[in-house]
Subunit: 140 residues, 2 copies
C-alpha cells in the first residue's frame, strides 16, 4: 500500500481547526501583534480580517525588522504600523478536501499550510507535525 | 522495504553542517541577538560558546518577552541581558551517526535537532525539511 494511500486514510485528522489557531487582525498595530506573538510563542501565525477571511502570515522578525534604526532599536514606530503593512501575502494555501500529494509537496517548504475555503474564509491549518505523527505511525 | 530502511540509506544527506547554520554566542547581549535573528529570519537558532560547543537554542520570542514592561515596550534592557540568561537549554540533541528511528520520533515535536559530538562540539543540524524531501522522494 503506498504511503500516500495510508496518509489519505488519516487525513480528516490533519486539520487543526480555526478556533485552535492563534491569529492577529490585519488592522492591529504591530505593538499589539508583538505582544500576541511573544505570548503564544508560535513562530508564524495567520492574519485575518474582520470577517475571519484569511489575509496573510506574520512572524516576529517582520515586526523587529521595523525596529532597526540608524543607531539603535526603536519601538515607537510599532504603534504607527499596521500588521497588513508588513505581513507576508505570497504563501500557498490549500482547500478542504485536500490532495494529499499536493500537501506533502508543499509541506517540504512550508511548516504549515492555511486551509481557506472558496469564499476566502479561514478554516484551519495543516502542520508538518500532524503529518510526521502519521508517518511515524505508518513506519511502525 | 521499510520506510526506515529507505530513509537510512539517505541519511548522510540529512546533516546541514555547522558552517551553514546561523548561530549566536551565549555571551552576546540580546540587542545583538535580536539583530541576528531579524536578519537571518530563522525562527530558532543554536547558541554556542567561545569554543563552538553547543549550549542552547534562541528565538525572538525569548528576547521580546524581556521587553514587556508594565505600561509599554522597553528595549533598554536588551543591552544588559545575555543570551545565556534567556535561552532554552532542555532540548534533546543527537549524535552522529544517528539512529533514524530516534530522529523520526524526535522530529515529531522538534522542527530541527542539533547534532552534538561526545565532547559537546556542535557539528550541524537535521531538519524536518530534509526528512520530508526524503519522504516525498520515497512516496514517488
Ligand atoms: N505550544 C506548543 N505546543 C506543542 N508543540 C509546540 C508548541 N509550539 C511549538 N511546538 C512544536 O514546535 C514546532 C514548531 O513550531 P513553530 O511555532 O516554529 O511553527 C508552527 C507555527 O508557525 C504554526 N502553528 C502550529 N500550531 C499553531 C497554532 N495552534 N496556532 C498558530 N500557529 C500554529 O505551524 C508551525 C508548525 O507547527 P508544528 O505543530 O508542525 O510544529 C511545532 C510543534 O512541533
Ligand atoms: N532562508 C530559508 N531558505 C529556504 N527555506 C527556508 C528559509 N527559512 C525558512 N525556510 C523554510 O521554512 C521552514 C521553517 O523555518 P524556521 O525558521 O521556522 O525553522 C527552522 C530554523 O529554526 C532551523 N534552521 C533551518 N535551517 C537553519 C540554518 N541554516 N541556520 C539556523 N537555523 C536553521 O530549523 C528549523 C526547521 O527548518 P526547515 O528547513 O525544516 O524548515 C524551514 C524551511 O522549509
Amino acid at each position: 500500500k503506498s504511503i500516500e494511500k495510508m496518509l489519505s486514510e488519516n487525513q480528516e485528522h490533519f486539520l487543526i481547526p480555526a478556533e485552535m489557531v492563534a491569529n492577529v487582525q490585519e488592522n492591529n498595530f504591530l505593538d499589539h501583534a508583538l505582544l500576541v506573538l511573544t505570548k503564544v510563542r508560535y513562530a508564524k501565525i495567520p492574519v485575518l480580517d474582520n470577517d475571519y477571511k484569511f489575509k496573510g502570515l506574520l512572524s516576529l522578525s517582520m515586526i523587529t525588522e521595523t525596529m532597526l534604526g540608524l543607531d539603535e532599536l526603536d519601538v515607537s514606530k510599532l504603534h504607527e504600523i499596521y500588521v497588513k503593512d508588513v505581513m507576508e501575502t505570497d504563501m500557498p494555501t490549500i482547500q478542504d478536501p485536500y490532495d494529499i500529494e499536493n500537501v506533502l509537496h508543499l509541506l517540504v517548504d512550508h511548516p504549515f499550510l492555511s486551509v481557506v475555503s472558496n469564499d476566502g474564509s479561514f478554516t484551519g491549518i495543516v502542520t508538518r507535525r500532524e503529518l510526521m505523527k502519521s508517518l511515524n505511525h505508518i513506519a511502525h
